[in-house]
């Protein structure tokens, strides 16, 4: 049985900013369900009292000195953009 619905898949795609058609939605319902079923092996694991480990060295708040330095110029920053105007990235209008 599928573990996710078509509506859930569409909602997740929206959150992830992906445009998926009906056919892709159906495929993803099946594939994501299979992956969740596979991941259900974790349900057998007793993790009572186990702290999650997000990064092996468990570093926190590693900072470097806040010193200004030469990095890239405005022109360089724009170099790989498809559409630019007046030294800025151009995007579709966001105001009515």
């Amino acid at each position: 049985m599928a573990k996710v619905t078509k509506d859930q898949v569409k909602k997740i795609a929206d959150v992830a900013r992906l445009d998926i058609n009906e056919e892709e939605t159906e495929v993803l319902v099946q594939q994501l369900s299979d992956m969740l079923s596979y991941a259900d092996v974790l349900k057998d694991l007793d993790t009572e009292g186990v702290e999650p480990l997000y990064q092996v060295h468990e570093h926190t708040n590693v900072l470097r000195k806040d010193e200004p330095r030469q990095w890239i110029t405005q022109d360089e920053a724009l170099k790989n953009a498809t559409i630019k105007k007046d030294g800025q990235f151009q995007v579709p209008s966001i105001l009515e």
């Binding site: 996710v4 859930q8 898949v9 997740i12 795609a13 959150v15 992830a16 900013r17 992906l18 445009d19 998926i20 892709e24 993803l28 594939q31 994501l32 299979d34 992956m35 969740l36 596979y38 991941a39 259900d40 092996v41 974790l42 349900k43 694991l45 993790t47 186990v50 702290e51 999650p52 480990l53 997000y54 990064q55 092996v56 060295h57 570093h59 590693v62 900072l63 470097r64 890239i72 360089e76 920053a77 170099k79 790989n80 953009a81 498809t82 559409i83 990235f89 995007v91 579709p92 209008s93 966001i94």
Partner: protein, 490 residues
Amino acid sequence: MSIFDYTLKEIQAKLHNKELTVTDLVAASYDQIDRVEEELKSFITLNKEAALAQAKQLDQETNDTNNPLFGIPVGIKDNVLTKGLKTTGASKMLSNFDDPLFDATVVEKLNDAKTVMIGKLNMDEFAMGSSTENSAFSTTHNPWNIDYVPGGSSGGSAAAVAGREVFFSLGSDTGGSIRGPSSYCGVVGMKPTYGLVSRFGVIAFASSLDQVGTITKTVEDNAHVLQAIAGQDPMDQTTVAVDVPNYQDTLKDGVKGLKIAVPKEFLAEGVSEEVKQSVLDALKVYEDLGATWEEVTLPHSKYAVAAYYIISSGEASANLARFDGIRYGHRSENATDMIDLFKKSRSEGFGAEVKRRIMFGTLTQSAGYYDDYYHKAQQARRLIKADFDQLFEKYDVVIGPTTPTTAFKIGEQIDDSLTMYANDLLTIPVNLAGVPAISIPSGFSAETGLPFGLQIIGKHFAEDTVFRTAYAFEQATDHHTKRPNLGGAK
């Protein structure tokens, strides 16, 4: 004997006494590329004109024979930024990313060592895959039999070294992406300790797991290359302030008295009989060299693949959010508004596997799934790391196969994600624990003639022990001297 059979140190000696020039080395690389690239498809981008010019310039200088990398032709995985040289991550999303603004720290370090950039190597899109079939541009072929995959995601990096197109390469390893291809292609591939090598300028996949590493023909060469790229970098705050030892100092010290742990889970169901036998044969070699081994257990390793796909996909979904179509990368021409521009650019730019992982990563971090999957996977990671910590209290290294089987055929698994994911069964626990591991050639299948890889795992920052263990086996055997019989190969 071909020029590619020399070690890096031997080449330095020959450059020094003028038996060879850097131009000879670079020309040899491009000659071999001309001969075999049509079969292998290791590269996405070549850098021929600039490389030959650089070679000419280096030939005006005298090499420092203490620098093993002077003038050496190198290939770099295409998820590592190279200033002014197209970097795509093997994605349509970055197929127009012609002019990266800076070099990754590892590239800067290689440039300082005066290596010569031959080109950028093929991979699975954004390093997601185990076969290099997920590249948006082409599928790389295994040099030992071009009907088979080279492994992935650093398939181009391993095939180019095995196929003698470059003298060494860099790859990245998030769940086995250096070790898997190195095993399938019969070369030496090292995934260092998490935090040893900078990832600044490497296109991020799963930041708590990603590590850059080295692919070479021999263990000694591998240690030389890692020496050059290791160390703390202020631009990657996950790099650790450790004193990197000189790996050559202990490389040849042998394995007398070395204590080896062999997890029974690494020789269990899912691992082919011939692969198991290759490991038992290797253990016999170690016994003869004066090491001892015992069977042990990694009780939580069976949870590793599930935990890995949840964690890595979750981190990937966040890391790949940067691809918006606006600042760089593919921009859709069909969008009506801002959100539509994001969605269409991303949907047109990403391939199926990348989309699947973004979806899975977003799903398992969403309300209703977070506790049962994402949180639970991070707890599993602590238990898997603790398993390794416990073994390293008593043993020097952990040994097993790198992959459950030898390489599979192109097309055989590409439509079955879960089967594809299982190829990384034996490499994934290493990334979750953050420990270093190498894959070295350990023989050839009697059935297919394809190489086996032996995986040697050490404790955090014990790359010196891993190299020493690998070197002892390599020198006691002749697997690393075998070469694939490519159509055009000399």
